[in-house]
Subunit: 140 residues, 3 copies
């Protein structure tokens, strides 16, 4: 959430914004009901163990078997703070580029079709090139 | 602790330093015995679940029911490393600006009076404005 | 791993790269079978509790008693992704400077001889000096 709040803030202030997603971060970009993709056994296991999409992620360090996340979502709704899926949609509408790390996708056995629409795929060199010319650059 | 050690180091080297606190980071700034503030039920629950102030935070990933944190504190004291409350005090004395994220305070139901003295409140635009003109900028 | 993948990528793109290791990060640099060093009781306890070197670190947030880490290592090997010890070796060969935080070593009771060869020891001022003049600077 911090990533998207900062990204959307920066986009609103007029700058070009890029988010580069690696390893567990890719789960944010998975479609909740993605297409069936032919996978090896290990890739399948990985896919099953990990949360599918922004709605399934733990929101709180005080998770307590789901209660913390539910509580946090309730509080955010009642205070008119966008939830994660809405933040992602707002980011895409504001022109924030979402880039999935190619090597992470390979290791975790995630195919491009399993990610939400509009996500690009690129490598670490692409990230470094963008980071070098940007004024604010965070690892979150 | 890493945040304040780096901030105090940078202040000692003569630069202006700002720390922006979001979500769980706000707990560092809570007064151990803050004033009673009228709150709704959920805000109260949140407040009770979270540690109040720097003295109550876990210090170690090897927490083991408090033993890790106690051990770490003992070792640091015996080696003359400042503990977190002392680091915060030193930071304030050195002119480091401590800014609490307004949206995080709203979501977590924390009022300004519950935070230690000298803390400012501002939004993400304020953070981004500061980050853009600073030479070192970390998400910790 | 993210640290070394980014560092090695940056080194391949021709820039000077420095990694500064603090607290738990130091465990990455410990020799698996380091020399016996005379230590006080607390330093010994700390040393025993912490993983010794890159091969012993948890690789996954889905650790599940070691299964997650084993699975991840297997997947990475089968997909020709370098493991952590290989990434460290590659970084050193590419001229990436590895710097251990002097204060962290002191607090955790780690001596220079316990770290892998080629590691430098320095303080936070050294880190800040390097960070200020670098174009990309991350806290990982």
């Amino acid at each position: 959430m911090a990533t998207f709040i900062i990204a959307n803030g920066a986009a609103a202030m007029g700058g070009p914004v890029t988010i580069f997603f690696t390893f567990w971060g890719l789960n944010v970009l998975r479609k909740p009901n993605g297409p069936a993709v032919a996978k090896g056994f290990l890739d399948k296991m990985f896919g099953m163990m990990m949360p599918k999409g922004a709605r399934r992620l733990r929101l709180s360090k005080l998770n307590m078997g789901g209660v913390g996340t539910m509580l946090m979502k309730h509080v955010m709704r009642s205070k008119n703070v966008m939830d994660l899926p809405t933040l992602i949609k707002a980011a895409q509408d504001a022109g924030v580029r979402l880039i999935a790390c190619a090597m992470s996708m390979d290791v975790m056995g995630i195919a491009k079709e399993e990610l939400i629409d509009g996500v690009e795929v690129a490598g670490v060199a692409n990230y470094l090139g963008t980071a070098e010319t940007s004024s604010v650059n965070l690892f979150i």
